[in-house]
Amino acid sequence: MTDASSIPALDLRALVVLAIGEKPDFSEGDKVRVLTRSPIGHYRVPLYLRGKTGVVQAVIHPMAVDNEEEAYGRNAGSKGFYYRVAFAMAEVWPGYIGSTNDGLRIEVFQTWLERV
């Protein structure tokens, strides 16, 4: 009987077309910038983060509804990706006092990020 560990991995990605929106725009390690638009009314990306550059630490799974749309009653549909992004404290706060390695992490929805 064949040992399970000797069976090669099966990768069917070449056979499958992904639907629009199914593939995350960004991956771990990508340098990204938070956009600088100014929504009127509800938003979930704090002002302190606008225009700052960071690095994607992780793609959050599963895909989920945009929380800014959810706030107006959208409970399903049009899901997208949140990204856990790392920012250096010195990048976010001019004159930051602390270690140069100090940082912050925050989840940001895909509509607020662009590749650097």
């Binding site: 979930r44 704090p46 989920a64 949140y82 856990r84 390695n101």
Partner: protein, 212 residues
């Protein structure tokens, strides 16, 4: 102090003799109207109160102690916090995910919600008032070391401090460092060392006297 009123007034406003507080009245009235419309049942509210009462920092402490004694569980916990908690029977009654943040010799984590009060309620219960008020929310994100010092926690400069701001679907739980002197502690004794504040990340657990 501009926001002193936020928590210096009594929480139950007793008006006339025997009268309910205004907001208590409002809560009862809204609830009764919605039940009458058939949108949910009274039993659901009662049950959710029991759910909330059952979620306390003791749950988080047990997760931490298990992670300290079982490296394979710890790896699963760090890979997917929600799934590892569910493995132990801790259900998540909402759609949030959980990222468990390991404190190490190089890195100290703390958690905050600058925009509101997001907190890992399914595993820690309800947050303390200070976590929800302006001083912590405004300052933990921009001067974490000063905030930590106010809690009596000093992180040396050669370690990094990482602040995690929950603004979306992920909640955080800090996995504190296991203190020295605990090699012979039982899992229950280890859990007893883990306080809510160490899982928020504003406190660390002191080294212990080794047991014989």
């Amino acid at each position: 102090m501009p926001n002193a009123h936020e928590h210096d007034h009594p929480h139950t406003e007793i008006g006339q003799e025997g009268a309910l507080g205004y907001y208590d009245l409002m809560t009862r009235a809204v609830t009764e109207l919605l039940i009458h419309k058939g949108l949910f049942e009274a039993g659901e509210i009662r049950r959710q109160i029991e759910v909330l009462d059952s979620r306390t920092p003791a749950l988080g402490a047990k997760i931490v102690a298990r992670a300290w004694v079982d490296p394979a569980f710890k790896a699963r916990l760090l890979a997917n916090g929600r799934a590892a908690c569910e493995e132990l029977g801790i259900t998540f009654y909402d759609d949030t995910q959980l990222i468990v943040l390991e404190n190490t010799a190089q890195r100290h984590n703390l958690i905050v919600c600058t925009l509101c009060s997001c907190y890992p309620r399914p595993v820690l219960g309800l947050p303390p008032d200070w976590y929800k008020l302006k001083p912590y929310r405004a300052r933990a994100i921009s001067e974490p070391r000063a905030v930590l010092a106010e809690f009596g926690t000093i992180i040396p400069d050669n370690m990094e401090v990482v602040v995690n701001d929950s603004t979306a679907i992920v909640r955080f739980l800090v996995l504190p460092r296991r203190p020295a002197g605990t090699d012979r502690f039982s899992e229950a004794q280890l859990a007893d060392l883990v306080t809510r504040d160490t899982m928020i990340g504003v406190a660390v657990i002191s080294d212990q006297e080794p047991r014989p």
